[in-house]
């Protein structure tokens, strides 16, 4: 069956009663489809009213479950979202950005998911909704638990990504390293959010790194070390990356990832500070 409900309640009921492959943009569902193992039940979220778009609320900016990368790029958002917008522009291609959703990127839980570091830096949470239990909120840092693993329960949908209003003075930037210009899976990536005081010294800093551990990570020690530094001359202490455990694969060695991510952080911080 192919269900394409227009109301969230119908979708949640279908999910709890029949299950099925949840699909929105299809940009992860189809590439991972194996010959002869394609699901036969689908639950398409794209026609559900109120599930798309990006909206501003008192306590949060809400990115709906079916909001695409293109929706993010085109939205009027605070400077702290620049990293997310830059990540969106680096996701696959225009075709992928037009179809793929940020929510799907989180649920797919790839270690190289481009959306995760910027959203970690934004202290984002996810809203998980089920038919029987209603909605719950889960910090993004707790939602993704491992490679392709999340706390999403079988009867739940990720209905929104919620971002607390970021400090207006914070700028942000995203750095992605790949072996070619477009359509490339990250070797490593860094999202940085910073703000500086009147003397030009960093007073707030948030750093998140992806593709260097099973789940992208915030770097609290590194963030603390940035406070008081001048972005232009920022020094990044490689010893503060101990939480990273990058794999050694065709895209790059462990040593390489640990090496370049230091430089990437420095560049991201500078760009986040508008240098």
């Amino acid at each position: 069956m192919y269900h394409a409900p227009t109301e969230l309640n119908d979708a949640l009921r279908t999910l709890s009663e029949e299950g099925g492959q949840v699909v929105a943009g299809g940009t992860d569902v189809y590439p991972s489809a194996k010959q002869g193992k394609m699901p036969t039940h689908f639950l398409d979220l794209t026609r559900i009213s109120g599930l798309g778009g990006i909206s501003h609320h008192q306590d949060s900016i809400r990115i709906g479950a079916t909001a695409t990368w293109t929706d993010v790029i085109k939205s009027d958002l605070p400077a702290a979202f620049d990293a997310l917008k830059q990540a969106a522009r680096e996701v696959g291609s225009v075709q992928i950005q037009n179809s793929g959703t940020i929510a799907g990127n989180l649920c797919n839980a790839s270690p190289a998911a481009d959306g995760v570091p910027p959203l970690l830096a934004l202290d984002a949470s996810v809203e998980l909704t089920s038919m029987t239990r209603g909605s719950r909120r889960c910090p993004l840092s707790e939602f993704i638990t491992g490679v392709r693993q999340t706390t999403l329960l079988p009867d739940e949908l990720l209905t929104a990504i919620l971002v607390p209003p970021p400090p207006v003075e914070m700028g942000s930037a995203f750095e992605k390293l790949g072996s070619r210009r477009y359509l490339v899976i990250s070797i490593s990536m860094t999202a940085a959010m910073v703000s500086c005081d009147d003397t030009g010294k960093i007073e707030q800093a948030r750093i998140a790194i992806g593709a260097c551990s099973p789940v992208a990570l915030r770097m609290p020690l590194l963030e603390a070390s940035l406070i008081g530094q001048t972005p232009k001359d920022v020094t990044i202490d490689p010893d503060l990356f101990a939480s990273l455990t990058p794999i050694d694969d065709v895209r790059g060695s462990t040593e390489f990832r640990l090496d370049v991510v230091v430089e990437q952080c420095a560049r991201a911080v500078k760009r986040a500070a508008n240098l």
Binding site: M1, Y2, A4, Q21, V23, G25, G26, T27, V29, Y30, P31, Q35, G36, K37, M38, P39, T40, H41, F42, D44, T46, T70, R89, G92, S93, V94, Q95, I96, N98, S99, L177, S179, R180, R181, Y182, L183, V184, I185, I187, V250, R251, G252, S253, E255, F256, D259, V260, E263, Q264
Partner: protein, 911 residues
């Protein structure tokens, strides 16, 4: 279109018309468009969003139809290339522009490119290069090198001229319209919807024993028409491209030798094949330890893959001239190096595909191929049928680059059609295309080169091992070609070069643009830079000093009295070499992290088979209605043979190219113009076309009795010849026709004059070589290890540019492939079997390319022309590697120079 039971209709606007499809749950939009709604202009290259060939617009936005659930378009507006070309002015202008710039070569990516570009231009009518790159970054092209596509979208001044299309004229491709309008039919575009399909059961292991279970029970399931195995082969279960090395089974019989090798094929309805789970097929596997590299393959205890090939050595090649060892001992400077490269995948955007049916008791195979007559000869043996009972009708070819020389889908199609008596189709998935098609040979090369203080190369000793994988394919050709070419286009009196092709349990390595020469060029051209640096001689001047010349002997003892254009190629780079290095020095003085470097490299390539017969036949004629027919059997795989051969023929006949009607390759009606390989079509088939045109012209002139320089025109049923004596008209309709309906006919064959190589590789392997020199400018981000190409200047001696636009197209495309080989491409069986782990350059990776055409005419070539197809990538990778060294002092000896590898070199410090 049928309303299938239980399937809800999906109603939407397709190119302005309301339509209804009935997709099964989860069906891809691309599948519904192609199979239910006739939109075969939507191409399938990967089914994973990696190539963008299937791009369509949904409510105006470009998306991959392969990633879109078909049901999602209900109530929406879908636009594809065909509709856009019909109705949309922007698309029509773009289609013209693509043709004027040569932006479509094979044409398989063209729908994705054009549709994406239309979406861009609707919002941004005057885009910059970068905006075009951002908009088209999701569509891969393997032919063009992208720059002409950017030019076409931006709308720069066209290259084409409005001329009659004689030789030297940069005219549009004669087959370009079908490519930009989405009507050209490729391998998977010819089968009627609903045709039986084939699914091949392949080995999941590099080496495994297997036993097949109850195939009768399996085959009795509803919707399965047949199960094919080695037992169903009516002839011989073997194929191969070289008669002495026919060693590959259509279906393995007891043991598989590489991951992806076929053991059986299931023929069934599309509904059954579409959901067939290979795990349910009755086969038991026992994994065996594989041989995965050439060193372990040659150990005494290594399992031998093929009888008669001890130590797994398939064969070797050898060229010796003078005394390399003594020369090296006496050289003032000797440098040496160890160079390695991995498997490179052709990555044409069109996976192998075709269709077969039984017509009047004969089997007809329609598939993408580079060598229709070789396909016929292979099927003759496999099917055990007389060749008169087999017909090969090539479809459009969505890129080949060497791998579509070998048979792929053809035997499965023919066997299935014969067994079921019904039409059948087969399209490889991207994964099975990458697993089972041939690759570029991995190389392991040891090289020593000596020179005198004054900068003359004095000794050269080359030893190379090439991983030919599980089966021979074109491995022997690589083994033989490499020692002949490893010197590069230089004068080297004391030379020794030995190569070996070694079997492993890797995929068969075969023909890939350059046949091993790009690998040996990396070693030779890298060491030339090392030598020049040690000698304190400018790298370009060092090459010019040693460059081959007319009257000088090649390493095979062949002396060309004319046509050697390598020195002119290098000399044409001098001004750029000076200017680019000055600019690099300026930039480097101001930057600590980004370092710019400039590199140069040369190359040569012998056109046609090595010391073997290599004929092409071209037939032409004039019909009673005045139509001039050219039977053009040289496969156009995007490189432009249809246009080049027609231009040569038209020039020889003395008519505009527009008045020639081409009848393409078809083994029933068109003579064999040989395979599209070895850069031989312009030269060899071009000569046959020239001769055919000349003969046809002289027959006509003789009949009318006019002067040799008479002007000819063909009108409805009449031929008008005009010379100084006036106009002469003959009424063709009243004249006698032959069996083909021809009033006049000419069929001519050309075979290049070569001589065999002796035990020391001395002889005349090729009647002509083409020559090339590339200059590469790169920037290395020293902190990240990334390399960005900034610019190429590419000089090519093509003898005579039959069509300068197509020459540029070849140069650009070759450079893109060379860049991929240098910086990012490495095929690892089981690991990079898709186009997101195996990376080829995108539109953002290829910088501007300046093409310099050198015309050192060749006495053997048609109007002096030389081949070009392979030459274009031979110097690219070493030029890039030399530029990287120039930038950061790191000599990369194992390609690809990935960021990880280069950064490690930079950290280790200059060598």
């Amino acid at each position: 279109m049928n309303n299938r039971a239980g399937i809800k209709g999906t109603t939407f606007h397709l190119d302005g018309t309301q339509v209804e499809g009935f997709p099964v749950p989860g069906a891809r939009l691309s599948e519904m468009l192609r199979e239910q709604l006739g939109a075969r202009d939507v191409k399938i290259g990967c089914n994973a969003g990696d190539c963008g060939a299937c791009t369509v617009l949904i409510d105006g936005d470009p998306v991959c139809a392969c990633l879109t659930p078909a049901q999602q378009v209900d109530g929406k507006r879908v636009e594809t290339l065909r509709g856009l070309q019909r109705d949309d002015a922007t698309a029509q202008v773009l289609g013209e522009s693509f043709q004027d710039h040569g932006a479509a070569q094979c044409g398989i990516c063209t729908p994705g490119m054009l549709v994406s570009a239309v979406a861009l231009l609707r919002g941004t009518p005057n885009p910059t290069d970068v905006q075009v790159q951002d908009a088209l970054g999701g569509v891969l092209c393997r032919c063009t090198g992208y720059r002409k596509i950017i030019d076409a979208v931006v709308g720069t001044k066209p290259i084409t001229e409005n001329t009659p299309g004689n030789i030297g004229d940069a005219i549009r491709r004669v087959d370009g319209l079908g490519k930009v309008s989405g009507v050209e039919a490729f391998g998977d575009d010819v089968a009627p919807p609903g045709t039986l399909e084939i699914f091949i059961i392949r080995s999941p292991y590099p080496r495994a024993k297997f036993t097949l279970g109850d195939l009768d029970a399996y085959g009795a399931q509803e919707g399965i028409a047949a199960v094919l195995t080695a037992k169903d082969i009516t002839g011989k279960n073997a194929f191969g491209v070289i008669p002495q090395f026919v060693d590959q089974p259509v279906f393995a019989e007891t043991e598989t030798r590489f991951r992806g090798e076929a053991v059986a094929a299931v023929v069934g309805t599309p509904e059954v094949i579409g959901v067939l789970d290979p795990d349910t097929f009755p086969v038991q596997w026992t994994e065996l330890p594989p041989i995965s590299d050439v060193k372990s393959a040659q150990r005494p205890d290594a399992k031998q893959l093929h009888d008669g090939r001890s130590n797994n050595v398939m064969c070797g090649g050898f060229v010796q001239r003078g005394d390399a060892e003594t020369a090296l001992a006496g050289a003032d400077v000797v440098v040496e190096g160890h160079f390695q490269s991995g498997f490179v995948e052709h990555a044409y955007i069109e996976p192998e595909a075709g269709f077969a049916e039984i017509v009047d008791g004969r089997v007809e195979v329609h598939a993408c191929t580079q060598a229709p007559v070789m396909d016929l000869e292979a099927l003759e043996v496999i099917l055990g049928m007389d060749r008169s009972q087999i017909r090969i009708v090539p479809t459009g070819v969505g890129g080949g680059f060497g791998a579509k020389l070998d048979i792929t889908v053809q035997p499965y199609l023919a066997l299935a059609a014969l067994k079921t008596g019904k039409p059948v189709r087969l399209a490889y998935s991207r994964e099975e295309s990458m697993q089972s098609s041939t690759k570029r040979h991995p190389s392991d090369i040891q090289l020593r080169i000596g020179a005198s203080k004054s900068g003359e190369v004095t000794g050269f000793d080359f030893y190379g091992e090439f991983d030919t994988g599980a089966y021979a394919s074109w491995g022997p050709t690589v083994a033989i070609r490499v020692p002949v070419h490893a010197s590069g286009p230089y004068k080297i009196a004391d030379y020794r070069a030995e190569s070996k092709g070694i079997h492993t349990n890797n995929p068969p390595a075969g023909a890939f643009r350059g046949f091993g020469v790009p690998q040996s060029a990396i070693a030779q051209e890298s060491l030339f830079d090392v030598l020049a640096e040690k000698l304190g001689i400018d790298a370009l001047e060092f090459r010019i000093k040693n460059a081959l010349e007319n009257g000088a002997s090649t390493v095979c003892g062949q002396v060309f009295s004319q046509g050697v254009g390598i020195k002119a190629c290098f000399e044409s780079l001098r001004s750029a070499w000076v200017a680019e290095r000055e600019m690099a020095a300026e930039i480097n003085a101001q930057n600590s992290k980004i370092k710019r470097g400039v590199g140069v490299a040369g190359g040569w390539y012998g056109c046609g088979n090595t010391s073997l017969p290599n004929p092409s036949t071209i037939k032409s004629g004039v019909l009673a209605d005045g139509t001039v027919i050219l039977h053009q059997g040289a496969m156009d795989i995007g490189q432009g043979a249809n246009t080049v051969i027609a231009q040569i023929f038209a020039t020889a006949l003395g008519v505009p190219v527009g008045s020639v009607k081409i009848v393409g390759p078809d083994t029933d009606v068109t003579p064999d113009a040989g395979k599209t390989s070895a850069s031989r079509q312009t030269y060899v088939s071009g000569n046959a076309a020239r001769m055919s045109g000349e003969t046809l012209r002289s027959l006509i002139l003789e009949k009318i009795n006019v002067a040799a320089d008479a002007k000819m025109e063909f009108d409805a049923g009449r031929l008008i010849a005009t010379d100084t004596g006036g106009s002469h008209t003959i009424d063709l309709a009243s004249m006698e026709q032959d069996g083909d309906g021809f009033i006049f006919r000419a069929e001519e064959t050309y075979d290049p004059p070569t001589k065999p190589l002796d035990a020391n590789g001395q002889g005349a392997p090729y009647a002509q070589f083409g020559y090339a020199a590339h200059l590469a400018v790169v920037e290395v981000d020293t902190a990240l290890g990334t390399t960005k190409a900034i610019k190429f200047v590419a000089a090519h001696d093509v003898g005579k540019a039959i069509n300068p636009m197509l020459v540029e197209g070849q140069v650009h495309g070759g450079i893109a492939q060379g860049l991929g080989m240098a910086l990012m491409e490495e095929y690892l069986p089981g690991r990079t079997e898709n186009l997101h782990d195996y990376l080829i350059p995108t539109i953002g990776d290829i910088p501007p390319i300046e093409t310099i055409i050198i015309e050192e005419t060749d006495a053997h070539g048609p109007y002096g022309a030389k081949g070009l197809g392979e030459h274009v990538l031979i110097p690219t990778a070493p030029a890039i590697l030399n530029a990287i060294y120039n930038a950061v002092g790191v000599r990369v000896t194992k390609v690809p120079a990935t960021p990880s590898k280069l950064r490690a070199g930079i950290k280790a410090g200059p060598q």
